[in-house]
């Protein structure tokens, strides 16, 4: 367990980066990381030995995010007027303008595409690793990524070329 905890600490910077690619609000991103850490520690026994730690925890974080999106959708229907005012003042004030521009583009992707982009383009995982984490065939990863890239190209313009 102690070893796992140390590995998780070492993985923290990447977990935070992955979460920031999923959600623009830095506070929400860290909430997600925290939730993923808690779940990983609580379910350490369920990790199959051949599973890479990073992939396993990324998967947990991604599931936590999907849960949160669902819960937020429900809350949004109840609290829409109250929450819309708060979204304006989110915690992204400290992010670099370039990161913000990219995060804004990512937010316009469907969530299933955003996850693939975060895993492959931001985290640099292979299609196979990404497919394993989100539990879909590689072909699905490829097609989601292709669609996401098309949208991102048009949103981000000349893409730094």
């Amino acid at each position: 367990m102690q070893e796992l905890r140390e590995e998780l600490v070492a993985l923290l910077p990447r977990l935070r980066r992955f979460a920031r690619a999923l959600t623009r609000n830095a506070h929400d991103a860290d909430d997600l990381v925290q939730l993923a850490l808690e779940r990983a520690l609580a379910h350490a026994a369920q990790r199959r030995p051949e599973m890479q730690l990073a992939g396993w925890v990324f998967g947990i974080l991604r599931n936590a995010w999907v849960d949160e999106q669902r819960a937020r959708g429900r809350r949004a229907r109840l609290f829409a007027p109250e929450e819309s005012g708060e979204k304006v003042a989110d915690a992204s004030g400290s992010a670099a303008p370039e990161m913000l521009a990219v995060q804004e583009a990512l937010e316009r992707l469907p969530e299933e595409q955003r996850v693939v982009v975060a895993l492959v383009l931001v985290e640099g995982l292979s299609y196979k690793e990404a497919a394993h984490i989100i539990e879909v065939p590689i072909g699905t990863v490829t097609s989601r990524l292709a669609r996401a890239r098309e949208t991102l190209q048009s949103l981000l313009g000349a893409a730094g070329a």
Binding site: R14, L35, L41, R75, A96, E98, V122, L145, G160
Partner: protein
């Protein structure tokens, strides 16, 4: 030879086998538009990667280090205690779990349980269960999410029908440090099923942003699906449930 955009993308992502790679490179050398398409894919990948690179350099938040290193490192990070006997009827609770719950309650909830001359404590432990009392019980029974008094000691979040029947409601207790949780109606009282110490500043003291969003820590929000049947109640259904005394 023509290459689909998907193939070129996979090439830029380093996903192709050597033979295909060489075929693409040979074709691109003689075909500037093709080379340009590849460059676009590469540039996008590089841009996405570079945009988030600064996150790796940020100092790690204390609460995350504490969450990874485990309890004891930092008592102030929010902890979740599940106070419900999941998937088990209450009466078959092993004794130790009731004891463990009481211990946790003692450690984490001490400040809220202290019997004092002050207003009645909002939580009460009875037979290994944590029940809402005082202002919390009152708010759970009476307060509507759609109409919350400003500066009330309790904020009600969502109300819903529980999978096992009856109603549950989420709440945030503002008293010193915020405590967020889920309570379900059990006969005449509200049993507290989940509690998390919230890092949210009470009453949105920290600059006023994220009040409602942080009212329910993800740790509590994450457990809702386990309990919730269908969708949360809307304002009318919430009022109707209250009018019927939250009886199933």
């Amino acid at each position: 030879m023509t290459f689909s955009d998907e193939t070129l993308m996979a090439y830029a992502d380093g996903e192709l086998d050597a033979a295909t790679r060489m075929a693409i490179e040979a074709a691109a050398a003689a075909d500037p538009p093709l080379a340009q398409r590849i460059a676009r894919h590469r540039a996008l990948r590089a841009r996405l990667h570079a945009a988030f690179e600064p996150v790796l350099e940020e100092p790690l938040p204390q609460r995350l280090l504490a969450a990874a290193r485990g309890p004891g490192e930092d008592q102030r990070t929010h902890k979740v205690i599940s106070l419900a006997a999941r998937r088990q009827p209450r009466w078959s609770w092993p004794e130790w779990s009731a004891m463990a719950a009481s211990l946790l309650v003692g450690v984490l909830l001490g400040p809220w349980l202290l019997k004092s001359a002050a207003p009645p404590a909002p939580l009460d432990v009875s037979g290994g269960r944590v029940l809402a009392s005082g202002a919390l019980a009152h708010a759970l029974s009476q307060q509507l999410a759609s109409n919350q008094p400003r500066a009330a000691p309790v904020t009600i979040g969502i109300s819903f029908r529980a999978k096992r029947g009856g109603y549950c409601r989420t709440f945030v207790l503002h008293q010193g440090q915020s405590l967020a949780g889920l309570a379900c109606r059990e006969g005449p009282s509200w049993q507290v099923m989940t509690l998390a110490q919230s890092t949210a500043s009470p009453q949105g003291a920290a600059g006023g942003y994220r009040q409602a969003a942080s009212a329910l820590p993800p740790a509590v929000a994450g457990t809702l699906d386990e309990y919730m049947e269908g969708e949360p109640l809307d304002a009318a259904a919430e009022a109707a449930a209250r009018a019927h005394g939250w009886s199933p």
